[in-house]
Amino acid sequence: MSTNRWLATGNFFTSYKEEQRIYRTHLDRSIFIVFLAVLFIWPLFFPVKNSTMLVIDNVMIAMIAVLGLNIVTGFAGLISIGHAAFVGIGAYAVGTAVTLLGKNHELIVYGWPVMILLGGMAGAAFGALVGLPALRLKHLYLAIATLSFQIIFEWVIMLMSFFDQGQTIAVGRVYWFGGKVLRQQHYTFWYYAILVFLILCGFMVRNLLRTRHGRCLIAVRDNDRAADAMGMHPGFTKVYAFIVAGLLAGIAGALKAYLDRGVGIESYTLHTSIEYLAMAIVGGLGTLNGSLWGPAAIQMLDLRVEELAELSGHYLPAELNLATALRPLTFGLVIVLFLMFEPRGIANWWRMFRSYTKLWPFRY
């Protein structure tokens, strides 16, 4: 068969397996592989400042967390206002290990990949707990239940001296094959670590979505009665959505604990939950690539606004609080404008871009 595997035109499938592929053409797949390679090698060619790398690292952690949020809110349609608590559980799993074993225990500094997975497990377990009310609750009541879990989580951490009452629990510097990861390499090292986890999580979600485990989420979101008739237990599917979301959030949280080299409650508050929601929306709810666009866009906005505020501080009278007001103002406006004019988020721009280039050079 002389099928063309490089362009979308003239690309025929001869088995169902072929049609199930993520990348329909060799061109798509090659572009993606090159893109991944670039992600891995660019820090070698450009001297990256720590502050820049820190921002990138945090964005990627947020991407993992938002992937989780997208599972529960985007795909399964359950509003979660407690996502930062899930991330916090992952971080505090590391915090617990540190408190029990000491911050430079072998498990922590050598076995960090294990710790990160453990963080994910802890997040998943917490997800199961939070998801339980979902067995009975419908949409908005459930949203508020997640909010309560967020508040209870914060309160418990702040109360327990085991967790140092929410103050930062320091985590030691990790070791890698090259020895101890020192300050100069810290952010770049974690860039790679987070990148690997992000890619793994991304593929995990991508694969999930083309199997029954992903489709059932969308089924429950779109029509839970019909889903019930198709043999899915809507309640358990919701709990399961929370578990997957908790898993991803837990991984993000553990990574964050290592990146920050400390676990403190202030990174996992209600405000952070709302930020995650904003990221998911700006990126595009219910899309995989939206989970990646969102955090990047919100972080970019934050940095730009900071500069703008600084600039306005130089030219405007001292008493005008414009500089301080700009950040919340723009943050809110971006959410609202996106919801009003582009509810499908940046992912939709990406989709339009893709469909434009897909059949290139033909327009249709």
Partner: protein
């Protein structure tokens, strides 16, 4: 082959009886129709059979299994599938995905196999895809395979609705007014599908339908409901002769 037995079912909503002491027997290998005027309790009966409502008193048995309190996903697993009166499709998904969703129970790979995908999950998906394609051929939906369901015409959506129920590979298929709102050609198609479902696929069919012509043509057994009570049963000929039924339909002068 299993029989669905409804005995003495009463369904009450806040003091109002939607169904009163209704008994019926859905015999395998037949097309059984439930007819009656609007508000007679036909859909309530179907809801009880498919687990969406639970009878206040009385019992529903599938073979020896009591399903009066079973939730819908359990009933569907036993082999009773339904198509909804008001289209209840997953509007944001393609026809293919809608049908694949109905294969949920048959996709027997676990979560970890799913996230790895290559290997078992991929193989099972392909096998089930083949099954789904079969149904697509049967219901003549080839042209719409990749279309998003929400964008399709009403008649086609109805067909997808039936196809999705069929994809569950049920023993009994409950069809709730599959021909409502269709034009003559679509109706003819749907009648053909309904009899083919029984003949080609050996699936017992329970049909709710307003078009008495269709019902009389294709049914083997008919139950007539009015105000939640059973007023007649039998073959089309018997029902057509039943004075209570005639009265309910034509009304007292």
């Amino acid at each position: 082959m299993t029989t669905l037995t409804v005995s003495d079912v009463t369904l009450t909503f806040g003091g109002l009886n939607a169904l009163t002491n209704v008994s019926m027997e859905i015999k395998p290998g037949l097309i059984t129709s439930i007819i009656g005027p609007n508000g007679a309790g036909k859909t309530s009966m179907l809801n009880c059979m498919s687990g969406f409502y639970h009878p206040t008193t009385g019992s529903i048995k599938f073979g020896d299994q009591d399903i009066s309190k079973a939730p819908p996903h359990f009933v569907s697993e036993l082999g009773i599938a339904r198509a909804f009166q008001n289209i209840e499709l997953f509007a944001g998904l393609s026809v293919l995905d809608n049908l694949l969703l109905a294969r949920h129970r048959h996709l027997n790979y676990n979560f970890f196999q799913a996230i790895i995908y290559y290997g078992k999950a991929s193989r099972v998906e392909a096998e089930n895809r083949a099954f789904v394609e079969d149904i697509i051929d049967f219901m003549e939906l080839e042209a719409y395979r990749h279309s998003v369901v929400g964008n399709l015409s009403y008649g086609v959506q109805k067909r997808v609705e039936v196809a999705r129920a069929l994809t569950l590979n049920p023993k009994i298929l409950l069809l709730d007014e599959p021909m409502a709102g269709m034009n003559v050609e679509e109706k003819e198609d749907m009648v053909r599908f309904t009899s083919d479902i029984l003949i080609d696929r050996g699936t017992t069919v329970v049909l709710i339908e307003h078009d008495l012509g269709v019902v009389m043509d294709i049914s083997d057994q008919i139950y007539v409901l009015d105000f939640g009570e059973m007023i007649g049963e039998g073959t089309p000929e018997e029902v057509a002769q039943n004075p209570a039924v005639i009265e309910a339909y034509i009304g007292e002068e």
